[in-house]
């Protein structure tokens, strides 16, 4: 059931998504349905990567899509792509959920969360196995080991950079710069502009 889905290269989701989002901002439910088809897969993949638990990932995915509907008018095309805007929103929501679960005083919840946090090696393996798009995979390979680990733990696992430093037994400053350098290298490799 959970087949990886290919949503085409940047050309396929060029201006169309921005236009859809603009229509959604005016209350167009059909446009929202089309937008949903284009972004739901990536949103679900990201929330699943961060939350692991399928039921929670679906719940957060739904919240994100409702949020897209609600705040579509807040999207400003000059400041990035629609996909980037939606994915930032999704990442924020899922990370909020991860952190609030961590902060919960309930010991059982904490234990359950820890139990389903896989070992680091397993995480990277899974993430890499799911890097469907050749470009992302290729660009990830251009990073140094430390950059790749920092980006993976922070972005795909929702760790704060302090936690990343702890997990990798590295000084804070090192993780801070590796994370930034890694993202900058990915940006340049993928040719992203804002």
């Amino acid at each position: 059931m959970r087949e990886p889905v290919y949503i085409g290269g940047p050309a396929a989701r060029g201006p169309a998504l921005e236009e859809l989002l603009h229509m959604v901002a005016r209350g167009d439910q059909n446009a929202f349905a089309a937008l949903y088809d284009a972004v739901c897969g990536p949103v679900l993949g990201l929330t699943r990567s961060l939350l692991r638990d399928p039921a929670q990932a679906e719940e957060v995915t739904q919240e994100v899509l409702v949020e897209v509907w609600r705040s579509a008018a807040r999207f400003e095309p000059g400041r990035g792509s629609a996909m980037g805007w939606i994915m930032t929103l999704a990442h924020r929501r899922a990370v909020d959920r991860v952190r609030s679960a961590q902060a919960a005083s309930d010991r059982e919840a904490r234990a359950a969360l820890l139990a389903r946090t896989p070992a680091f090696d397993e995480v990277t393996e899974q993430v890499e196995a799911r890097l469907e798009r050749e470009q992302v995979r290729r660009c990830m390979r251009t990073l140094t080991e430390l950059q790749r680990q920092s980006v993976t733990l922070a972005y795909y696992r929702g760790r704060t950079y302090r936690e990343v430093a702890e997990l990798l037994s590295l000084p804070l400053g090192t993780v801070k710069t590796r994370l930034r350098d890694g993202l900058i290298r990915l940006r340049d490799c993928m040719g992203v502009g804002a």
Binding site: A33, E132, V151
Partner: protein, 275 residues
């Protein structure tokens, strides 16, 4: 922290890896550092590409659910500059998406007051309707406490509102029953409103990756009636869709997202009380 130190936090900020005081400090810096704001935008855009690489195929049922939900959600207006020329969320604007909680703005507290009143109203209704009231009020509180999942709470409020109307309907009829493992359930039906509510107490949380799903039984054919969220053992849910001619309701455990037809034996099957 020095300016240069702050600037190198763009990467951590872009992927939401800052928290607490560092986050506040960086956001203050962001407001005055055009280069940082640009870099954050670019790195977030980059991170978005990483997300696309993880794409999964969602359950088709999820689309129905989301389409149903958006139909009841009011959209926010576009951002406009206020009289003194300042934007209402400067940092937000610079980085396209800021922090959900803060960007929701000043409209919220008023609505929270409304929720509270609704909470009391619901408590009153429930006390009269069923001995399981505590469960629903507990769940209502839990929903309203979840500030970081405000839209879920909002949806719950709409649902709780409708739920309260069913429980308080003059023609509401209740039937209680035992579920598995000592759990108890009650179904309240208002033929006039054509709606039904299911309440339960002592129902364990659904196993990981599974959900409770409600069903109407139309002459033996099961019609999906939404999911039942349990937490802390108590739950109250408005069955989705009209009662129509159905004579009973069921509860099953289904894969996450729900099913179009039951895939497991019902853990509860309750005949509706006669009018």
């Amino acid at each position: 922290m020095t300016r240069a130190d702050l600037h190198t936090l763009t990467g951590a900020y872009a992927v939401h890896a800052l928290s607490g005081r560092e986050l506040e400090e960086f956001e203050r810096h962001l407001a005055v550092c055009e280069a940082c704001a640009l870099e954050v935008r670019e790195l977030r855009e980059t991170a978005g590409r990483l997300a696309v690489a993880t794409s999964l195929t969602p359950s088709p049922l999820m689309k129905d659910e989301v389409m149903r939900r958006i139909a009841t959600v009011r959209q926010e207006p576009p951002r406009v500059a206020s009289h003194d020329g300042r934007d209402d969320r400067r940092d937000d604007r610079r980085t396209q998406v800021g922090r959900g909680r803060e960007s929701r703005g000043a409209g919220r507290p008023r609505r929270r007051g409304g929720r509270k009143a609704l909470g009391f109203a619901l408590a009153a209704c429930l006390a009269g309707a069923a001995a399981l009231g505590g469960a629903a009020v507990w769940q209502y509180r839990q929903a309203s406490d979840a500030r970081n999942t405000a839209d879920r709470a909002e949806r719950r409020v709409a649902e709780v509102d409708e739920l309260a109307r069913v429980l308080a309907a003059p023609d509401a009829r209740t039937r209680t029953g035992k579920l598995k493992d000592g759990a108890t359930g009650a179904v309240v039906v208002s033929r006039g409103l054509d709606r039904a509510v299911f309440l339960s107490s002592g129902l364990p949380e659904a196993p990981s990756g599974r959900v409770y799903q409600l069903w109407f039984s139309d002459g033996g054919t099961m019609r999906p009636a939404g999911l039942l969220h349990t937490s802390g053992g108590g739950s109250a849910a408005l069955l989705r869709g009209p009662v129509g001619t159905s004579s009973a309701m069921g509860l099953t455990v289904e894969p996450a997202g729900g099913s179009k037809a039951p895939t497991t034996d019902p853990i509860a099957l309750m005949t509706f009380p006669s009018g």
